[in-house]
């Protein structure tokens, strides 16, 4: 049986691999809104995940005993398959954005926590000793010395977390019809190739773009990291 895709161009009716006219016609009502939702889902997840991971990493940096428990907790979250995690959460939080965000945030924690903590711990003891000897308070040391010096490692973590979340956020469509996962699943379910290819390509492009943007951001805020001896 040949599926009937209703009105549409000859390309759409024949369900060719990719129909530009469909993508153009449905940019405004399908692709663009889902793309915006996808960006939002990712941004919230990375933002909230970053806040939690930063707080946890700072705690573990000051109190070593905290590293074990939080590390184990975030590693556990990381190992749970995403669909299983949604299954676990839906009875509690329902088919909501909250369910999706809890899962997505959970997957960012391990990477962000590890990277922030590694960044803080890799600062040369001489630098910290100099800061202390010159009369920095603990707070000034953290804000002016330790966090800025951990930035390259932190940004590396944010890059990985962002790209991972963009990819994972497609799975959110199992729970609610948001994000690029929605047209991807829809396209797969109805065998309409253009739809899932368009949405899939958009998700990949978004990941590449976000990664490139974060690299540029990193270069802009850590000019010292690339400045090496030239003379």
């Amino acid at each position: 049986m040949i599926p009937n895709f209703g009105e549409g161009s000859e390309c759409v009716r024949a369900n060719r691999l990719f129909c530009w006219d469909w993508a153009r016609d449905h940019w405004d009502d399908t692709l663009q809104p889902r793309l915006v939702e996808h960006v939002q889902l990712t941004a919230y997840a990375v933002g909230i995940g970053f806040a939690i991971a930063l707080a946890a990493a700072l705690l573990a940096y000051r109190f070593r005993w905290f590293e074990g428990p939080f590390g184990a907790f975030s590693a556990l979250l990381y190992t749970i398959p995403s669909l299983a995690l949604f299954q676990l959460l839906v009875p509690v939080t329902g088919l909501t954005v909250t369910t999706v965000e809890i899962a997505l945030v959970g997957y960012t924690l391990l990477i962000l926590f590890r990277n922030i903590l590694t960044g803080l711990r890799s600062i040369s003891p001489d630098v910290l000793e100099a800061a202390r000897g010159m009369g920095f308070t603990r707070r000034q040391t953290l804000l002016r010395i330790e966090l800025p010096l951990a930035l390259p490692a932190i940004l590396a973590g944010v890059r990985v977390a962002t790209v991972t979340t963009i990819s994972l956020a497609t799975v959110a469509a199992f729970v609610l019809p948001q994000g690029l996962g929605q047209p991807i699943f829809d396209g797969l379910r109805t065998y309409f190739q253009t739809k899932f290819i368009a949405a899939g390509v958009l998700a990949i492009a978004l990941a590449l773009l976000a990664d490139a943007a974060l690299v540029l951001l990193g270069r802009a805020i850590t000019p010292w990291a690339r400045a090496r001896r030239t003379a």
């Binding site: 100099a130 010159m134 000019p223 030239t230």
Partner: protein
């Protein structure tokens, strides 16, 4: 005594680390007069770094007290105390994410100086330590070891502290750079007259830069505290004699220049020529190399081997 220096007094200072049987510093008492360089020297385990770090309370004092300008370091707020004391460490500890200028501006910023004043000060200090104005915007990663140490020195001097603590500041440099920086540091010190506590394990460096040398033996016991010349001439005991080395006679000669000794009248014979600024050690070396027992001093007279031997005998 200049207005920009302070006296440092160690009063029966003891440091006992928890869980250790022996103190790291034992009942140390010594006074560093304002504007002088006191070198703490000794073998590892002598507690020299511990003693120095108690001045800015990077290490707490177990017993006794340290007074800077007559005020106990225990009575001051610890961050305020540290901002008032210049601090230079061996690995320099420059902040890699800050430019040279920002590094130098560290303490002025902590003290809340106005931007104009800080900027002017950075310019002054760059010139003082022999860096170029163009270095201001470079990052530590772009500098050589010697340049970094200059920045470290400028950073410590930024807020014009009365007291400087220097922990093996030239230890990581190659011999040529070290020698040059030592000389420049001494030239600066002649001008600035800070009260400096300088830690090193190198007795030659101690003799070169110290106005006074405190030799600490294992267990943080002060073995001798005196001028370099006095320590070389009259070591307090076998430990000090061994520590300063079997060549202490030569080291003493290196401290004196030809211009500082009485000369014999000029002779007719042809002798190797030395300048008045030549050290006695180099003059002696020349005699040995040329196989003669005297050298001529630039038309002023003759320096003989006997005269040098007599000088060494005076104090022994």
């Amino acid at each position: 005594m200049s207005a920009s220096a302070a006296e440092i007094e160690f009063r029966n200072v003891t440091k006992l680390y928890p869980g250790r049987a022996r103190p790291a510093v034992a009942n140390l008492s010594l006074t560093v007069p304002p504007g002088e360089i006191c070198v703490l020297v000794g073998p590892s385990g002598g507690g020299k770094t511990t003693a120095m770090k108690m001045v800015n309370r990077l290490i707490s004092i177990t017993e006794g007290d340290i007074l800077v300008d007559g005020v106990s370091v225990r009575e001051l707020d610890v961050t305020e105390l540290r901002r008032r004391i210049g601090y230079v460490i061996q690995q320099v500890g420059l902040f890699p994410h800050m430019s040279v200028g920002e590094n130098i501006a560290t303490v002025p910023r902590l003290l809340g100086w106005k931007r104009d004043r800080t900027n002017a000060r950075i310019g002054e200090l760059l010139e003082l330590v022999g860096l170029e104005e163009g270095d201001r915007r470079r990052y530590p990663g772009q500098l050589s070891g010697g340049q970094r140490q200059r920045v470290g020195l400028a950073r410590a001097l930024a807020a014009d502290p009365k007291v400087m603590l220097m922990d093996e500041p030239f230890g990581a440099l190659d011999p040529i750079t070290r020698d040059r920086l030592q000389n420049e540091f001494l030239r600066l010190q002649a001008e600035l007259r800070k009260t400096v506590i300088f830690v090193t394990h190198d007795i030659d460096e101690a003799i070169k830069v110290g106005d006074r040398i405190a030799i600490l033996r294992e267990g943080g016991v002060l073995a001798q505290y005196d001028s370099p010349a006095a320590i070389l001439a009259r070591p307090a005991d076998d430990f000090v004699a061994r520590f300063v080395g079997a060549d202490r006679g030569l080291k003493r000669l290196a401290l004196k220049r030809v211009s500082e000794v009485e000369l014999d009248p000029a002779r007719d014979e042809r002798l190797p020529l030395v300048e008045e600024t030549t050290t006695l050690r180099d003059a002696l070396s020349l005699m040995l190399a040329e196989g003669v027992r005297a050298v001529a001093v630039d038309g002023k007279g003759t320096l003989t081997l006997d005269r040098i031997a007599a000088l060494l005998a005076e104090d022994d």
